[in-house]
Amino acid sequence: MDLLKAGFKEVKDAVTTKKISAVEVTKFFLARTEKLNPKLNAFIKMSDTALEDAAAIDKKISQGETVGPLAGVAFGIKDMLCTKGLRTTAGSKMLENFIPPYDATVVTRLKNAGVVVLGKLNQDEFAMGSSNETSYFGKCKNPWNEDYVPGGSSGGSASAQAARLAMGTIGTDTGGSIRQPSSFTGIVGVKPTYGRVSRYGIVAFASSLDQAGPMVSSVEDAALTLEVICGHDKMDSTTSQKPVPEFSKNLTTNIKGMKIGILKEYEKGVLHPDVEKTYRASLESLKKMGVEFVDVSVSLTEFAVPMYYLISASEASSNLARYDGVKYGFRADFKDLSSMNLDDFYSETRGQGFGTEVKRRIMLGTYCLSSGYFDAYYNKACQVRRMLRDQYVEAFKKCDAILSPVTTSPAFKLNERSKDTLAMYMNDIFTTSTNLAGLTGLSVPFGLSSEGLPIGMQLTGSHFEEQKILNIAYALESVSDVKGKTPHVF
C-alpha cells in the first residue's frame, strides 16, 4: 500500500485486517515528518505518545474489539485545537508553554474514531493572517515551491497535508483560513456550516465565525472526517442538533441537473489570469456534467471584507482578554511582583506576549466596541451581516451551490504581502462572506498556475448542505488537472 496516496478507508481496512499495523502507519509519517519538516516548518510540536496511541489501536484490533471508522489514520492538528497533555500555542508566544488538561471536542471525536494524533501544526498567531507569516514559531513553506507561502491561517495544516506528512489534518476557518491555504497547496479543505462542528477546546478567534474542518487529500477523506467531527456537542450550545448525514456513502459524481449559482458580483473581481483560466475550465467541466448555471446576486458581498474585519476583530478583542498572565501562558518578566501596578502587569504581559498583527486586531476590535462607537461600527456591521445572510438565503432558493474562485491569485511569495495588509485583505474577498453568513464552503484543487502552483475552486453551500457541495467537488475532483500531481518535495 502506498501511504503517500492511500485514502482513509483503504488504510482503515488494512489496519483492521492487520495488513499493516497502526504503529507502522504512524512510524511512516513520523519518519517522513522528521525528514521533510525542517524544510517546511509545518509541524511545530510532535506528540510523544503517537506510537503508544497507535499501539493501543493495534491492541484493540488484535483483541477483537471494535474500532472507529478512522482506525489507524494519522492526523496532524492545527495548533488552535487544544490537545490534552500536548502543548497548544495558537501560534503565539502567549501560549508558548501551555499544556491543556483537556481535548477539543473535535480531537476527542477523532481519537474515538481511531485517529492517531501525530502532532500540532503551524499557523498564523491566533489564526490572524493569510500566509502563516505571523506565527511566533516561524514561517511555514509551501511544499510546491518553498519560496511561496502555504496560505493561512491554517498554513501548517496545508503544508503538512500537501507534503503528506500526515494522512489528514484539521484546520480552522474564520474568514477563509481552511479554504485559502487548501487552494494554495492543492488539497481539499472544507469549512462546515456554522454550528455543524463543536468549537469546544478550539482557541477562539471570532466566536460567531470560527469553524474547524478537514484539510485532506481527497473529497472522500473530507467526507469521512466530517462524519466523525460534525454533530451536536453538549459542551458547545452553538452546535446544531441536526442529524449528520453519511456524507461518504452519499458521495456521487452524478451531478446532472444540479443548479450552480454564479455570483454576478464575483464576475467583477480582478482575477489573476491563471485563476481566471482555471475558473473558466471548471465552468466548462461542470457544463459537460450537465449542471445548470443560474445567475444569482448577493450585492452585499462587496462589503464582506470590511464587515468581516470589524466583527472578527471586535469578538477577538474580547476573546483574547483572557490572556493576561494570571492563570496560564506568558507573563512578562517582573523583578518584583509586590511593587507591580496591576495595569502595568497586564499591559506589559499583553504588550510582549502578542505579536503585531494580533495587537492590531485587538486595537481595532476594542475601538469598535468602545462607548460611542458601538452603534456605528459593531452593531452596524451585525445589521448588514443579517442583510447579507438574507441575500444568500434568497440566492440559495435558486441554486444548490455557488461556484467561485477561492482567491484572486495563486499562492504568493513569502514576505511579498506581509507589509501590505490591504492587499492581503483583498485576497479574502471570496471567502469571508461564507463565514459571515454561516454557510458551508470548500476548496477543491482544479488547476495549476503557469508557475506550477495549484489553484482551487470554491463551492459555497447553503446552511447544513455540505453534501451538495461535497458531491459537486467530488465530480470536479475526478476531472481536476491537479489529480495525480504532487509537490516537488515528494
Binding site: 488552535m80 482578554a321 496560564y328 468602545s370
Partner: protein
C-alpha cells in the same frame, strides 16, 4: 376611591429640607448544585480551586453552556415580583480586566434582560410601600481574591456561581424603606426556595444607589453607589450616613462626585473606593458563545403554575380567612417554612387561632433559645396540631398542655403518648372528683366555716386545693360545679 382615610401613608424623609432618592441592586445567589455556565459544584466548603474546570478558569477554547435551572429560577423570581418575562433575552459580555475575572469579561445580561418592569409591596413600620423593579438579570459571579501584602491570591471556586441581579426603580425614599425592601426581596427568594438569603455568607449582596435633592425639585441629584453591604441593618446605617454626608457636601457648596463608596460598619461611615470617571468602558456586546434564551408562553405558564403563594398574599389570607390578627399573620409568613408549619398545625386541629398562639409564643421561643430553624423543630406540626386537639376535646387542660409541650420538645414523642404514659389525662370522672373534694373539705374545716360565714373569697382557695390534689388533671369546670354544690350543702 378608598374611604379608608386612616390608612398610614409612606413617610416623607426630610433632613434639612432635602429628600433622598434611593435604588437598590440586590445580587441573589441562585441555589443550584452546579454553576451557571459549567458543571462545577457550587458548595462552599471545597478546597482551593477544587470547584473549577477549564471553563471556569477561562482556559483557551472553553465555552459556556447555560444551566437550565438558572433560567427557571430567574423566571420564577421575576414572576413572583410581577415582572414581564422577556421571551427572547440575551447574554452579553461585560469586558474589563481584573484578576478575579478569569475570562477578562463577565457574562451578564445587558440591554435584553430576562425580567423587567415588576414591583414589590411590603410593610415599613405601619405603612405599605410599593417599589418598582426595573429589571432582574442572570449573570456569573467572579472569583475570590485574598490579599497578602506582597501578592494577591486567587481562588475561582466562586467564579461562575449563578447570580440574579434585581435592580429596583429609584422609588425608595428612606434608609428604613431600603432595609425593608431588601428584607422583602429576601423573603420572596426564600419563599421561592431559589436562594438561601444568607447575607453574611454572601448568598445575597446589596449595592445601594443614593442621591439627595431639595424637596420639591424633580431633577435627581448625582448618585453615589455604596457597594457590597452585607446586612440589611448596615444598608440602613450606610444610607443614613451617606444621605447626611451628601447634604453636608451640597450645603457646603460642593458638588457630589459620582463614585463608588464602601461602608465600614465599625466606623459607621462610607469611604470612597473609586471615582466613576476612572470607571471602565465595559464594551458590552452579545456573547456569541451563547444563543439568545428563547421562551414560549407555555414554558412561562408552566413555571407560573409552580409558584408558591407569596408572603404578602399568604399573610392576607391568614388574616382574612383564618381570622388571625394582621401582626400575627405577618410574623407567621416571614418565612415559608414557618408559614407551612403553622398552616399544617392549624389544619390538623382546625383551630387557627390556637395554632397561631402556640407557634408564635411556645415554638418560636424554644427555637430562638436553641438557635434552631423551624424545620429543625423536634415538635412536628402534626404533633402540635394534635396537642391542640387534645385541649379542645377536653382531654387535657391548657395548663397540662404546657407540661406535655415541654416533654414533646425534649423527646419528640406524640402528645397522646406522653399524656398516656405520664397519666396526665384530665379527670372528668365526677365520682373521683367528688371523692377528692370531700377529702379537701374534710382537711380544711376552718376554711369551710369561714365560707359558711359568708366569706365567698375562700372559694378560690378550695379550687386551688382541689386542683392541686388532682395534680392539675381535674377538669376545672367540674371542680367548680361540684365544689359549689358541696359547700352549699355543707
Amino acid at each position: 376611591m378608598s374611604s379608608n382615610v386612616e390608612r398610614p401613608q409612606p413617610k416623607v424623609y426630610n433632613s434639612r429640607g432635602y429628600e433622598a432618592v434611593i435604588g437598590l441592586e440586590v445580587h441573589v445567589q441562585l441555589k443550584t448544585v452546579s454553576k451557571i455556565f459549567s458543571a462545577d459544584a457550587t458548595n462552599f466548603e471545597s478546597g482551593d480551586n477544587e470547584n473549577t474546570s477549564p471553563i471556569s478558569v477561562g482556559m483557551p477554547g472553553t465555552l459556556p453552556v447555560v444551566n437550565k435551572l438558572v433560567i427557571e429560577y430567574a423566571i420564577k423570581t421575576g414572576l413572583a415580583l410581577g415582572c414581564e418575562i422577556r421571551k427572547r433575552s440575551v447574554f452579553s459580555r461585560k469586558n474589563y480586566f481584573y484578576p478575579d475575572l478569569p475570562k477578562g469579561y463577565q457574562i451578564s445580561q445587558y440591554d435584553l434582560p430576562i425580567c423587567e418592569k415588576g414591583e414589590i409591596t411590603f410593610l415599613v413600620g405601619d405603612y405599605e410601600k410599593r417599589v418598582g423593579i426595573t429589571r432582574a438579570h442572570m449573570e456569573e459571579d467572579a472569583g475570590k481574591s485574598t490579599h497578602h501584602g506582597d501578592a494577591t491570591l486567587l481562588n475561582y471556586n466562586r467564579a461562575g456561581i449563578p447570580l440574579l441581579e434585581i435592580v429596583s426603580d429609584p422609588d425608595i425614599r428612606t434608609p428604613q424603606e431600603a432595609a425593608e425592601y431588601g428584607r422583602a426581596i429576601r423573603q420572596v427568594v426564600r419563599f421561592l426556595d431559589v436562594c438561601d438569603g444568607n447575607l453574611e455568607e454572601g448568598s445575597m449582596r446589596c449595592d445601594c444607589n443614593v442621591s439627595v435633592r431639595k424637596i420639591g425639585t424633580e431633577k435627581f441629584g448625582t448618585k453615589v453607589e455604596i457597594k457590597n453591604v452585607n446586612s440589611f441593618r448596615f444598608v440602613e446605617k450606610a444610607i443614613e450616613y451617606e444621605i447626611e454626608r451628601q447634604i453636608d457636601e451640597v450645603e457646603a457648596g460642593k458638588k457630589i462626585v459620582q463614585e463608588t463608596r464602601l461602608y465600614d460598619p465599625d466606623k459607621n461611615r462610607t469611604f470612597s473606593m473609586r471615582l466613576k470617571e476612572d470607571a471602565q468602558d465595559y464594551r458590552y456586546f452579545p456573547d456569541p458563545d451563547l444563543l439568545p434564551v428563547i421562551l414560549t408562553d407555555a414554558q412561562i405558564q408552566g413555571i407560573k403554575s409552580t409558584l408558591p403563594e407569596l408572603p404578602i398574599a399568604r399573610a392576607k389570607r391568614f388574616h382574612e380567612k383564618l381570622g388571625l390578627p394582621k401582626t400575627d399573620a405577618t410574623v407567621l409568613t416571614d418565612e415559608k417554612d414557618l408559614a407551612d408549619y403553622f398552616e399544617k398545625a392549624a389544619d390538623i386541629c382546625g383551630n387557627a387561632k390556637a395554632a397561631s398562639n402556640w407557634v408564635m409564643t411556645d415554638i418560636l421561643r424554644e427555637l430562638n433559645a436553641n438557635k434552631l430553624a423551624i424545620n429543625q423543630s423536634p415538635i412536628k406540626p402534626e404533633q402540635l396540631g394534635n396537642l391542640i386537639s387534645l385541649i379542645d376535646k377536653g382531654a387535657i387542660s391548657g395548663k397540662i398542655a404546657k407540661t406535655v409541650f415541654v416533654e414533646m420538645w425534649k423527646t419528640g414523642e406524640a402528645p397522646e403518648k406522653i399524656v398516656q404514659d405520664k397519666g396526665l389525662a384530665q379527670v372528668s370522672d365526677t365520682g373521683a372528683i367528688e371523692k377528692m373534694i370531700d377529702e379537701v373539705l374534710a382537711a380544711n374545716v376552718s376554711q369551710v366555716a369561714e365560707y359558711k360565714a359568708g366569706r365567698a373569697k375562700v372559694f378560690g382557695f378550695f379550687v386551688g386545693a382541689a386542683m392541686k390534689a388532682s395534680k392539675g388533671q381535674a377538669n376545672p369546670d367540674l371542680v367548680n360545679e361540684i365544689l359549689k354544690r358541696k359547700l352549699d350543702q355543707a
